[in-house]
């Protein structure tokens, strides 16, 4: 339960590539990957137009609340959420039980197209996710030092020095 999610350069690039491809294939404005705790993982498209940190946290809250609703009525989960706006729409789906894939699109795309492309991309992302977890385990098992293993008290104090 207390295992950290760890992402290395290689997986980050693979995921970013997948998100970029999904953005083009689905004619979306923004494609965004968040973990269920609200941590932002990667994104593609016009992400500098939105506050991605807030987007990540609210998406995770939204999914958590919807999960709670599902359990209340005896469903395992609602794997897709869709919010329709006047101009922009948000499609949210769960990937590999741990991540949330967010696609923001407007009239240049359609719900059908987004759903179709998301399905394909999800299985690709899932594969990267399982590689990531495997790698984290191997690295953990081989006792390769985490960057924090050598933090000193002074390092920590320095953060709060001002």
């Amino acid at each position: 339960m207390d295992s950290s999610l760890v992402m290395y350069e290689e997986e980050f690039e693979r995921i970013t590539q997948l998100l970029n491809r999904l953005r083009v294939d689905a004619s979306a404005k923004i494609v965004f990957l968040v973990d269920k705790n609200g941590q932002q993982i990667a994104g593609a498209g016009e992400i500098d137009q939105v506050d991605t940190t807030s987007l990540a946290s609210l998406t995770a809250g939204n999914v958590a609340a919807t999960d709670g609703l599902a359990k209340l009525i005896g469903e395992k989960e609602f794997s897709i959420l869709f919010h329709e706006g006047r101009k922009d729409n948000i499609h949210i789906s769960i990937v590999g039980q741990r991540l949330i894939l967010v696609v923001i699109f407007d009239e240049r795309s359609s719900l059908g197209l987004v759903r179709l492309r998301v399905r394909k991309a999800s299985s690709d992302i899932e594969r990267v996710l399982s590689d990531m977890e495997l790698k984290a385990q191997q690295v953990g098992a081989s006792n390769m030092a985490s960057p924090f293993a050598e933090i000193t008290d002074e390092d920590i104090d320095a953060l709060f020095s001002e």
């Binding site: 295992s3 992402m7 980050f12 705790n37 953060l159």
Partner: protein, 194 residues
């Protein structure tokens, strides 16, 4: 559960402010938001009712600087304190790295403090955590009120593992940053230990 991103050289951790209704959890976040540099902080998001009671959570992202070349990003959350929002509180504790318990020092709120602490213990276990081992700080808030119970007594009733404890007046900012620092330090020590 922290998220370590080697690609972006970032570490993200989640801190949750817990405590009974109206104890000052949101006020803590508001003060931190007001006093932090614009470069350090993101937007403060409050999902609140029309009467400004927290409905789901408040959220404040805060960059504390770098440790060993890694940016440390703290995500601060509050829970809704009112008893009937328990389902929401459980959700917010998911993946938590550190907890601040904000106690209301007023005599009339002693039972509410104890009840909320018990509720925290339960909800943490349901999420697979243990209050005894998770990074944890106690804040005794509202020290300025005339009906505040003496600190010794609050300490005796609410402090259960010798956790760092701070007196606070969150509306004026007293004790707010001390509390945050103490919990952030514990979380970083915990990362080192793992």
């Amino acid at each position: 559960m922290s998220f370590i991103n080697y690609a972006a050289r970032e570490i993200n951790v989640k801190i949750v402010y817990y405590g009974p209704g109206l104890c000052g959890k949101t006020t803590n976040l508001q003060y931190i938001y007001e006093k932090s540099n614009p470069q350090q902080k993101g937007k403060l998001i409050s999902l609140a009712t029309e009467t400004d009671r927290t409905l789901f959570f408040d959220f404040l992202p805060l960059d504390l600087g770098s440790v060993r070349g890694f940016k440390t990003r703290f995500h601060l959350y509050t829970v809704p304190g009112q008893v009937f929002y328990d389902a929401s509180r459980k959700l917010i504790l998911k993946g938590v790295d550190g907890v601040v318990f904000v106690a209301d020092s007023q005599e009339a709120r002693m039972d509410a403090n104890i009840e909320s602490l018990r509720n925290l213990d339960e909800n943490l276990s349901e999420n697979g955590f243990e209050l005894r081992v998770i990074p944890y700080v106690l804040q005794l808030n509202k020290r300025d009120l005339p009906s505040a119970v003496p600190v010794d007594e609050l300490y005796r009733v609410l402090n259960f593992k010798g956790e760092p404890t701070f007196e606070a007046v969150a509306t004026q900012g007293m004790g707010v940053f001390e509390t945050l620092k103490a919990v952030a330090k514990q979380v970083l020590y915990e990362l080192r230990r793992r």
